[in-house]
Amino acid sequence: MQHKREDQLLEDKRDLNKFGYAQELLRDMGGFSNFAISFSIISILTGAVSLYGHGLLYGGSGMMGFGWTIVALFVILIAASMSELASAIPTAGALYHWAAILGSKRWGWYTAWINLIGQIGIVAGIDYSFSLFADPLLASAFGYTSTETTTLILFGITLLLHGAFNHIGIRLVARLNDFSAWYHIGVVVILVGSLVFFSRHELQPLDYLFQVGQTFSDKPYALAFLIGLLQAQWTFTGYDASAHTIEETINPRVRAAWGIFTSVAFSFIFGFIMLAFVTLSIKNAAAASEAPNAFIYVISEALGGTFGSVVLWLVTFAMWFCGLASITSFSRMLYAFSRDKGMPWSRHWAEISTKYRTPAKAIWLVIILSFALALFDYIVKRVNPEATYTTLAFLTAVSVVGLYVAYGIPLYLKLRAEAKGVFQRKHYGPWNLGNWSKTINVLSLLWIIFISIMMVIPPNQTAGYALIAMFVVLLIMDLAYYKNHFPGPQAALSKSEEEIKSQEARFRDS
């Protein structure tokens, strides 16, 4: 058995070496761990719960039945398309690397930066969600008043903790991610069981879950429903983590591909069950949609204050696990991009700690960038207290658009490369969709275009402005410097076998 594992590790290392990269990260993840990291980042207990009020406000109860399922259907297609690419090109750069070699290094450079912007949004959004939930709970326990400032402080502390765990405890983080997957399933079971057996009032009839036409916003229903899709669409983000941790996964061409796909599929199932029972427990949807936190309101109404608080603590811990995993994923993406010198001061961010086998500096850069994004929004709101959007909606819209555009670019380039005959069937990895591939890729792209527009229309236009501003900065950076100075991942192909070996030797005894 040990012998088989060693053979597989050697084969995986050789596969990576073909791209000109040394095996620097510790390859120790099995199939379940790879699935667990994406399942933890999708985290049905973070996205679907923290934006529950958003979904209910805009789409009413039908958002949980129809909205969740429509989004899941298309995200399953996107995940399948990405799994196929991860199987064919198994490197930690993932989206960026796929775009660079299917298109050009400049396509890759833009994909990386857009992915990076989305990743900042997702890390900030997740840890901010945790703080939004934990701050009132801590405030009532320790007797202080929860404000936007205390939430921001708690957000900063959470980021620091996640940074420290990721820096010094790669094996601990991996075990925590495994635990997190079971924890998410366990909490859904407890939550659903509690609502079924201990709810103070009768559940709504099943058709309440698919009731459309009622919005609690001032928008016409069709538009409100589309805006409400942010709840599901944000939940289904971050599953590229299975690809970013591909250089740490054993037999990644198969396992990481399954990790991407199954994390989305199982999140749909468990998320649907959870949302269905929470929604069927609603007593007064109008009051819930007006509550500061609709999910807390519905649970407390159904289960009572004490039981409700216990469930809320359980949900809050799930968000903590989600934040931990998202920083792991983001730091690997940053490491891979810096390895190809795509960032300012790349040498630092591409450095792997020989003691901990983690991209330590990249991890701390992730922490700083994520805090800066939330701080920016905090300052904007101080300057303009009349702002009607929420910080969470801003962060989540930025991450949805950033991530999905980055998911879409390599899919488009794959279709283009196939049309030109550059990327052929012989290049597909073991996990592939055969002759279904093209249709699934096209449907995925159409959904990405549609959803990217939907996520930045009012009331989320601030996210749209922020994304345009970031894109302008990228354009300036590209034209001023990177256009002529970014070597791209193609440069790594020039590395000799000896160079790769000597790079790997640094980590052999650690």
Partner: protein, 45 residues
């Protein structure tokens, strides 16, 4: 709308199962001899 909602859920699960089945078949039939790594080109800029 209940019927439509249930149909949508069933279709979504069906699509996921069909894709999973298809991918599993591909993994089982994969022949390393016929495969070529797509590593790009040094001139690909």
């Amino acid at each position: 709308m209940l019927g439509l909602g249930i149909l949508l859920v069933v279709v979504t699960i069906g699509v996921a199962v069909a894709i999973g089945y298809r991918a599993n078949e591909s993994v089982r039939r994969f022949d390393e001899e016929e495969h070529e790594s797509f590593i790009g080109s040094k001139n690909n800029s």
